[in-house]
């Protein structure tokens, strides 16, 4: 590469971009926008169109929100509102439904660790990896909602006032520790078949080499799982594991188990502090040599001018009856302004961003058609998909199998 090049186009400086899909968008009044298609939310066509739009924008992946209860404006309890979108489809199945219709983009559905079986989720995501030929991931989530525990009736979840209240620390720490065990089981099950376990040896009549199938024998504080999986090791070996965190406890989960963490910095200085904390936890977890992306989450209102974007946000806030706030910073402005913000945040150590379109039908196309070309002009984003797998897009090698006797030691040390 010539040192005289004004912009460094090397992949190293490329930002990663994901989009978080949730119903008609992240603003609670988004469904009332003319572009929103609220009556199509339960159709395959709606989701296929959104993911196709994201793929045209060359984005790394989409995440798909989910939950084991109706959406609610309250963080811990259900509400009785009829003026917002309620009801949704299972995110893993939405991802599987759009997988055969797309070719490059990663598909990362949300799974809730608290009330589900790691064995089922492991094979579901492995299978999503097969049906997408190597583009699957998961976003693991916990829930401390008592009403969701009542949907399963298998455990009581102690009522807390807020996830970050001191009284809730014990419960929340347990739920995240359980989620870490859950991901450990999911990952071991993905490795429980070595890549070459299926031998189809006609001479001996053996279909598999059973020495290459492994019991995982996981025993933890919360559950035990025997294995092996019923599904062979997926194309990526280990599909992408991601999680959202807002504090030290979830940062530890990211540090221990994730390939991508989503965080919600207020500003660049905060981003720098979060990244430093996660990197320290990563080192403490013995993973300092491994790639762990830290993505900043942003809600985006994108328009041709800042005034237009602000007017749209005001209009939606008026429809909703209150200003929209959430865990993530809200950006309101133009693609160029957003590109400036992303570049500045990248300087604080964020390696990518997960954008939450305020209105999916409006802001997602703006990401692909306005923001991406702007970043490309600045040499900060890919101009074509450069890899066939999601791990490949994120610069993650296909990992060696933890159970493989011939795994090169270097694969885990580097």
């Amino acid at each position: 590469m010539s040192p005289a090049t004004p912009f460094d186009h090397s992949e190293h400086h490329h930002l990663h971009l994901a989009v978080a899909l949730d119903g008609t968008g992240w603003h609670p009044a988004s469904w009332r926008e003319p572009v929103a298609r609220p009556r199509d939310l339960l159709t395959a066509g709606y989701w296929a169109d959104l993911v196709a739009e994201a793929e045209r924008g060359l984005l790394d992946f989409v995440t798909i929100e989910d939950g084991l209860g109706p959406q609610s404006s309250h963080p811990l309890d259900p509400d009785d509102r009829t003026d917002q979108v309620r009801g949704r489809l299972d995110a893993v199945l939405v991802a599987a439904r759009v997988a055969p219709l797309t070719r490059h983009i990663g598909l990362v559905p949300t799974v809730v660790a608290t009330h589900t079986e790691p064995f089922h989720i492991s094979k579901a995501i492995a299978t999503l990896d097969y049906v997408s030929t190597g583009r699957a991931g998961l976003r693991v989530q916990i829930t401390a909602r008592p009403n969701e525990a009542d949907h399963f009736g298998r455990r009581a979840v102690e009522r807390i006032e807020a996830y970050d209240s001191p009284a809730a620390q014990g419960l929340v720490t347990d739920l995240f520790d359980e989620a870490a065990d859950y991901v450990e089981v999911v990952r071991r099950l993905w490795d429980s078949w070595e890549d070459d376990a299926e031998i189809r040896d006609r001479a001996t009549g053996r279909f598999v080499d059973r020495d290459k199938l492994h019991h995982i024998d996981f025993e933890g504080r919360f559950f035990s799982v025997k294995g092996p999986s019923i599904t062979p090791r997926p194309p990526q070996g280990q599909p992408l594991v991601t999680a959202l965190g807002h504090g030290t406890v979830p940062y530890r989960l990211l540090a221990r188990q994730a390939d991508v963490g989503y965080v919600t910095p207020r500003d660049t200085a905060h981003a720098r502090a979060i990244v430093a904390e996660i990197r320290a936890e990563q080192e403490a977890a013995g993973r300092s040599g491994e790639t762990l992306h830290v993505f900043g989450d942003l809600v985006v209102f994108l328009d041709d001018s800042q005034a237009e974007a602000e007017a749209r946000r005001d209009r939606l806030d008026t429809l909703a009856g209150e200003p929209y706030t959430g865990d993530a910073r809200i950006f309101t402005g133009t693609a160029a302004q957003l590109a400036d913000l992303l570049e500045e945040s990248a300087g604080a150590g964020l390696t990518g961003f997960r954008l939450r379109p305020a209105v999916a039908g409006h802001d997602l196309p703006r990401v692909g058609r306005d923001l991406v070309p702007e970043l490309q002009r600045r040499g900060r984003f890919r101009t074509a998909y450069e890899a066939d797998t999601l791990r490949g897009l994120l610069g993650l090698a296909r990992p060696a199998n933890r159970y493989s006797a011939t795994a090169p030691a270097a694969a885990t040390a580097v």
């Binding site: 009829t82 009801g87 999503l128």
Partner: protein, 458 residues
């Protein structure tokens, strides 16, 4: 006036994890890659089949304490494959076998309701039960269930799932963009279920799907299983593919419907069936024997015999005579995670019978297994097979068949190309789909939606 001809229902069972599936054939492809499933589903849809069927197993089978390695091993996740298949098909029904022991109603109901939405009303659920601690070791919930409780749990599981499906009316979503009302009623999805196995309450989060509820299949054969099916299933996946026993099963199960206020056409009986086609009947018979030899290698024959003898027989020659030792009775069984074992209730009697058969026919161990095991249901030229299938259905031995090819993924192609057109010519199988949902294909009514008042009270 003779009675009108019944219309035949046909379905395609993706080749399973057992020795019916021949993996050693050069034509045998992957049973994991999505391209195999897509090929299989497209063939079934091209042939206007009612639905595709996926089985399930939640722990790799073991024999003699080791993972069983002679058959196809491994399978992808049922729901995930079916959702992906919805993208490459338009009309074909999508039936998944899902266990009621190692799952919870809220999650399964939302998966089936989601699949029904994502496929435009093509989902079906084959409800199976299980009770073994062996499989339970893969689950945080454990899952050991006394055998006598498995149908009680399955029944309550299904009833609970129905309450969840019915918790949303078809007209709950207004999405009135101008007026600002998304839901008609804040209580949409409300449910309370208090029972012996499930005590749950709250709000279901998947609105009413196109079929209202998935089509319900049942596969058990016990008296309890038959009663379970008569009470609430839409179809039975049965094992009786021979005429006399098929007729007896058909009459028995259809006879149970009246006491539940149901008509005979509200429960379809669909046996599993294998087939081998040839240009002539003689050629097909020859091919069938060849397929049996592929399905039963010497090693497979010994392992099969171990299921009855319940002891290690690896020292025996599969081409030699049957063991002279008797089966071990009453000890922990040598095989785990395999449904077949239940069929051998009196191993000593079976061993005696098999020895006599082998002696009379001068059969080796392998010959015996080839000749007494699952022989193909339909063997013949296409015209012979089409005629036999039609006779079977018109004689009330079934309402159709779930066909199990022995080759993945192309094993259904010859049936689609050669037998289906003959059935269509005879006017006993659809020339094209008439409806869009699986209920349409099977002639099943859309379930009545519960009125909002009942919903709140339930």
């Amino acid at each position: 006036m003779s009675k009108p001809l019944k219309q035949i229902h046909l379905a395609a069972h993706f080749p399973g994890v057992n020795n019916t599936t021949v993996w050693s054939d050069p034509a045998a492809g992957s049973h994991i890659e999505f391209s195999s499933f897509a090929h299989f589903a497209r063939t079934a849809e091209r042939a206007k089949f009612d639905f595709l069927f996926l089985a399930e197993g939640l722990r790799l089978r073991e024999q003699g304490g080791k993972i069983y390695d002679l058959d196809v091993v491994g399978r992808p996740d049922t729901f995930t494959v079916l959702a992906a298949l919805a993208a490459v098909t338009d009309r074909l029904g999508l039936t998944g076998t899902i266990n009621s022991t190692f799952n919870e109603p809220y999650e399964v109901a939302r998966q089936f309701a989601s699949l029904d939405h994502l496929s435009g009303g093509r989902s079906a659920w084959n409800v199976v039960t299980s009770w073994d601690a062996f499989t339970g070791e893969n689950f945080r919930r454990g899952g050991f269930l006394p055998q006598e409780e498995r149908y009680a749990r399955a029944k309550e599981f299904l009833a609970t799932a129905h309450e969840l499906f019915d918790s949303w009316g078809a007209d709950e979503i207004l999405a009135d963009q101008a007026g600002g009302a998304f839901l008609r009623d804040a209580r949409a999805g409300a449910f309370v279920h208090r029972g012996q196995h499930f005590d749950i309450r709250g709000r279901f989060n998947v609105p009413r799907s196109p079929q209202g509820r998935p089509v319900i299949f049942q596969a058990g054969d016990s008296d309890e299983g038959r009663e379970f099916a008569a009470a609430g299933a839409d179809a039975i996946f049965s094992r009786y593919s021979h005429l006399k026993e098929g007729q007896a099963f058909y009459a028995d199960v259809k006879g149970r419907l009246a006491k539940y206020g149901r008509r005979p056409d509200q429960l379809l009986i669909l046996p599993a069936a294998t087939f081998v086609l040839g240009d002539t009947d003689a050629e097909a018979a020859e091919l069938a024997l060849e397929v049996r030899r592929q399905q039963v290698s010497g090693a497979t024959a010994l392992k099969h015999l171990e299921l009855v003898w319940n002891r290690d027989l690896s020292a025996y020659d599969p081409e030699g005579p049957l063991p002279d030792v008797d089966p071990l009775v009453g000890e922990e069984h040598i095989s785990r995670g395999r449904a077949q074992v239940r069929m051998y209730r009196d191993p000593l009697a079976i061993a005696r019978e098999w020895r006599e058969l082998a002696e009379a026919n001068k059969w080796s161990i392998r010959d015996l297994v080839i000749n007494t095991g699952n022989r193909q249901t339909f063997v013949g030229a296409p015209a012979t097979v089409a005629r036999t299938i039609n006779e079977f259905v018109q004689a009330d031995a079934s309402d159709g068949f779930i066909l199990v090819p022995h080759i993945t993924p192309g094993g259904l192609d010859p049936f689609a190309d050669k037998v289906v057109p003959l059935l269509q010519e005879q006017g006993v199988f659809r020339a094209d789909y008439e409806g869009t949902t699986l209920r349409d294909h099977l002639g099943l009514a859309h379930p009545d939606s519960a009125a909002p008042a009942e919903r709140a009270a339930s």
